[in-house]
Amino acid sequence: MFRSRVATLGAAALVLTACGGGGGEAPQKKTELSLYNDKGAWTKYFDEMGALSKQSIGLSIKPTGYTDSAQYQAFIKASFRTDVKPDLFTWQTGGMLEEIVKQKQVADTSAIWQEAIKAGDLSQDLMPYYTVDGKQYCVPMNVAYWGMFYNKKIFDQYGLKPPETWDDLIEVAETLKRNNVKAFYHTSVLFSFVWFEQLLAGTDPDLYDRLATGQAKYTDPGVVQVMERWKQLIDAGYFINPGDKTDPGDVLKNGKAAMVSFGTWFNTSMTSRSMKAGTDYDFFVIPNVNPALPKTSMIFESGPLCSLTKAADPEASTRYLKWWTTAEAQQKWAASRGDVSANPKVTIDDKALGAVTKDAGGGEYRLVNRYFEATPPPILTAALDGFSKFVTEPGTYMEVLQTIQQAADEYWSTHQ
């Protein structure tokens, strides 16, 4: 009886050992990597990249796209404490990246950066966005420059040309208004910050940077003036209703608004609607509000592609990130989406976007980190809610600034 029980226990132990992970095992060798991302609409493009990488380096990817960024971030954070870990995942630069790097969750990519810069596949200018305490983490999944997409047919109809100065832009808006066409798109959902960052960066980019690092307050006169200018533009009737739920791609295509300010990734929305660059729509760099500034401020964003320190197959993940930075991968990634690339060797088919990329790389503009990444998450949440309130009730701008500053005071009291 006793022997049979011992034998049963022994067998159970063997089964459990076989089922368990075993801490001392060698990492598994993967040929397909999971890629979690918050760009659900880009699954098709990730699939195309997976097919190319399989040919080139023998590694394919299986994208899992989320469309709700809050759910996505909660999932990624939870995955740090569980065995369900992504091999690769997209994230945000700025405070969000710092937050997970400090938890020692993100794999160091300093070697990839050094090599890519040496080979001319990445620009040195991008490095600060990916550097935390002197080391690099992740690689650029995408880069985007922000400007104004405009409906070329409407511009042609009223004899309008892309503006060279802020006054020109207002003149264009005024002409459109006279012809019962709304000049600009804006929204109360998520991208409510767009006009705030554009007006502040184009008025005083130093103040923009100081605000992002807690050295200036949202209630400072410079920021208040920006809100007052924004209010004037809304009061002048240049914007469509911020509660309009029409997709901004359709807004521009249908001429509901003649101009939509977004990053170069918005080009994908245009091409996917069978619109032709240079004929149906075009792109211009938004002139500074303050003409005395030495360079035109241009909003810039870069989204990282990361791997974990405890990835199932760290070698495969690293190999993939390294391949992602190469000209071969980036040419495909940029061409399929009709967007610009982090790799300076990539040629951009779209004339306007190609010129912007070239000029930005040549130091023509003062690149300003997008508000979404530049602002610490708790302040950003308050600001997005605040700007959302402001665009529907412009008279509340002081109340909005005070509410955001309250969140900023709370954050910077423990994060200086």
């Binding site: 971030q73 954070k77 911020p242 509901k256 949440t381």
Partner: protein, 277 residues
Amino acid sequence: MLGRFRYGYVAPAVLLVAGLLYAPFVWTAYLSFTRYDGLESPAWIGLDNFVKLFDDAALLTSTRNTLIWVVGTMVLPVGLGLLVAVLSYDIKGGAWFRVPFMLPYALSGAGLAMVWSPILSHDGVANRLLGVDTAFLQDSPYNTLAMLLVWTWQQLGVNTLLFVVGLQSIPKEPIEAARLDGASGWRLFRHVIWPLMRPLTAVVVGLALVAGLKTFDIVWVLTQGGPGRNSETLAVTMYKETFVSSDYGYGSAVAVMLTVVTGLASYLYLKRQVTAT
């Protein structure tokens, strides 16, 4: 024999409920006393999150909106459900009359938004049909009222169905007796039918009370609690604080408060109904 294994029979259910219901509840209650961003270990801060609840202007708006939802849910879907049930009951083809009210119940929250978003948006069908220029989903508290109407549209059918079942289960004798005594119309309903339906009404109103207190999906898909935070309910605030702001501690405090309020309201309501019955 049965006595020896009796715990074994209930163990799977007990373990599932304990693991999937009670454990998260205890964990949430613990988190409400901590500062936790989902990454670092939770840091004990005592009652700070609960003190903050009383000093949060956004929470005041959420509480006001939740109250509108509770009252609105009990009045509109329940009241109109009762009306449709009474009007369609006992008439020829009454079941067909109720079908259009039932169909929207089959829609999910996201489907509901897909249907109503283009209707209520600024450039939407409602404004064009009415010939007005109203921001149905923007101005507070009208956006909450507009969403409440959408909710009524969806929930009316199921309440109607419940009331019809209630009407069918009423014993015929008291009604016949009342009719013989000359009661009809409103008097018959008020003094005979309504009291007989009381047990079912208690359940329907109780369900509506809980549904109103935990309103989330319809607000999330139509306005995400905005613009600003002016259409947030307590459940939306809980979600936003936890998953958007990554303030798991404060979000948990809102969750605990919402649980206590829902539990207390349900208990008091049901106790009153039981006592009255």
